[in-house]
Amino acid sequence: MMWRGGAQVVSLGFKSLMLHKLRSALTTLGILIGVAAVVAMLAIGEGASQAAQEQIKRLGSTNILIQSIKPPVNEQSSGQSSWSANIYGLTYQDARRIRATLGPHIELMVEVRLNDKEIRVADQWLQSAMLGTAPDYLDVMGLKVARGRWLSDTDNRTLANVCVLGGNVASRVFPMSDPIGSVLKASGNRFVVVGELEPLGRQSGHVGRSIDECVFVPMSTSRRRFGEINIKESGGSREIESVELHEIKVKVDTEDNVAHASEVIKNLLQRSHKQQDYSMTVPLELLRQARESKRRFQLLLFSIALISLIVGGIGIMNVMLATVTERTREIGIRRALGARKRNIIDQFLVETVVLAGAGGVLGLIVGLLFSWAAHLFWDADVYVRPRDPVMAFAISGLVGIFAGVYPAWRAANMDPVEALRHE
C-alpha cells in the first residue's frame, strides 16, 4: 500500500509537470547543464591528471634522478677562446659520496655517461650515443633483453670491449641479420655486440637521447676508451666539454625514505659544487605536486559545479513557487479532502525531485557524451571514475530537495479556507 501510494505520488508529479512541458523542460535544462558540466570536467580533468601521474610513476616512485646540466654561460667564459674546455657536471666523486653516505638505503644505484660517437658497422655510419653504465642499469630502467645478454660485472672488471644495442639501433643497422657477434667501431675501438634490447617505444632517455637509440657499453670501458673529454662540433665552432657523469639514478629502498635521501643528496652536492651544474628530479615529489595540483583543480571544478547547480536550484525554486501559487486552489481542495500538510509537502517535493532528477540523468548522459567526444575529436585523456556520475546524480537530487523544501512548505502551510477561496 505504501509503495502504491509512493508510485501514485510520483505519477501525479509527472502529470503535473507534463501540464507545463516547456516550463518543466527549461527548468530541467538548468540542472542538466550543471550536471553535464561537472561530469565532463571531472572526466577530462581526471584523465589529464592520470596521464600526468602515469608519466611520473614511470620514472619510479622510489627513484631519485640527478643529471648534469650545463651551467649558464657567464660573461667571462664567453669571452674566452672557443678551445677552452667546459668542465661541469656530476663527478665520480659525487657518486662515491652518495653511495657511502646513503649506504643501506640504496637499493640500486647506477651512473650513466654518454659519448656522442660516429659508429661504423661494416660499411655503414651511424651517429649514436655510447652509453657507459653498470649492470644494474637494466633493472633500474625496467629494460628487457631481446636477444643475447646484458652487460655483466665481469665485462666491467675486465674493461671488455663489448656492447649491447638499443631497441631501434639493432633494427636500423642489422635489419636482416642477427647482430650478436658482429663488430662495430667507434673512435678507433672495436666493440663486439653481445646483446640487443627490446625497444621501449616511449619517450624516455638521458640528456636528450632516447634509450632506444643508444649503444650500451660497460662504464669502465667507456672511461678507458673514450676519456672524459667530449668534443662537439656544431656550426663551425668546436665545443669541448668534460663531463664525468651525465646522470646518477638512485633507487631508494622504500618510499618513506625518499624525502630523507633526496635531502641528503642535495646537501652533499651543494657542498661539492660551486655552481648549479646539476639538477635533481624526485618523481615522488612530482607525484605529490601533481596530486596537490589535481586537488586544487578539483576544488575549482567543484566550485564551478556548485555555482551552476545553485543557479539551477534557484531556477527550480522559482518555478515551484510559481507552481504553488498557481495551484493554490488544488492545495485547498486536497486539504478539504483529507490531505495532511505532510501529503502536500510530499507532492511538491516529488515534483522538484523529479525535475532535478531528470536534469541529473540527462546531464549525466550529455556529460558522458561530451567526454567521449572530447576523447574522440580532441584526443583528450578522459577518465570517468565510477563515483563521479553517482555523485553528480546525488547532488542534483539534493539540489532538487533543497530547492523544493521552501515552496512545498509554503504550499502545505496555506490556510485551507483561503486556498479554497483563491481564484
Binding site: M1, M2, R4, G5, Q8, L12, K15, S16, L19, R329, E330, G332, I333, R334, R335, A336, L337, G338, A339, R340, K341, R342, N343, P416, V417, L420
Partner: protein, 236 residues
Amino acid sequence: MTQPPEPAPCVAELSDVRRHYQMGTEVVRALDGIDLSIRRGEYLAIMGRSGSGKSTLLNILGLLDRPTSGEYSLEGKPVSTLSDKQLSEVRGRNIGFIFQSFNLIPQLTVLENLEVPLFYQNAIGPESRRKAEELAVRVGLSGRLKHRPTELSGGQQQRVAIARALMNDPLYLLADEATGNLDSNTEAEILTLLDELHAEGITIIMVTHNPAMGDRAERVVWLADGRIHHIEEHAR
C-alpha cells in the same frame, strides 16, 4: 396523546460556538454563539444574507476552521482541540464537500478525482476503484471515468464532485451553493440527485442564499449577524 417521535441521534453538535477575527483594531464577530444539533439523516439548509456568518459556519462544520470558543463535536467527540494533522484525518474520513465551483483537480481523470479522498487514507486499490465505478453509475456518469474534468459539462462536473464527496461514506455532505454555477435545468437535476441521496439516508447540510433550495430542506437555519435568527421546520 401521541408521544413525539424519538429524535434521531446527533451526528454533530455545536454549543456556543464563536468565531472572532481581528481586523486591524476591530474584532469581527463572524459567529457569535451558535447552538445547533445536526440529526442523522436530516436535510438541513443554512441560509442568511451575505455577511451573516454562513461561510464561517460552513468552514467550522467542514473542520477547515476552528471556533475561537465553544465546542464542536462529531458523533460526541470534541474536535476543537485536535491538531492540524488529526483534523485533516477526521475531515478526510467524515466529511463530503460539494463546492459551488465543483473544484475537481484538472490534471486528473474522473476516476482519479474520485479516488483522491481515499488516497489520503491509503486506501487506493481494486476496492476503491470498484466503489468509484459504482458511485459514478449512481450519479449518472458511467462511461466517463477516463475523461478529464474539462471534457465534462458543469452539471457532469458537479455529479463527479458529489460522487467524490460520497467516496469516504461521510457523516454528512456539506454543500456550499452547490448549484450556484449551474443553469436552472441542471440545477433541478442536481437538486433531484441530492433529494434521492437524502432519501437513501444521507445527511446533507446545504449552505445557500437561494430560497428555492431552502424549500427542499427539512430544516432551515436562518443566520443573521453571526447568530441563529430562527429555525424553520418543513414537513416532508
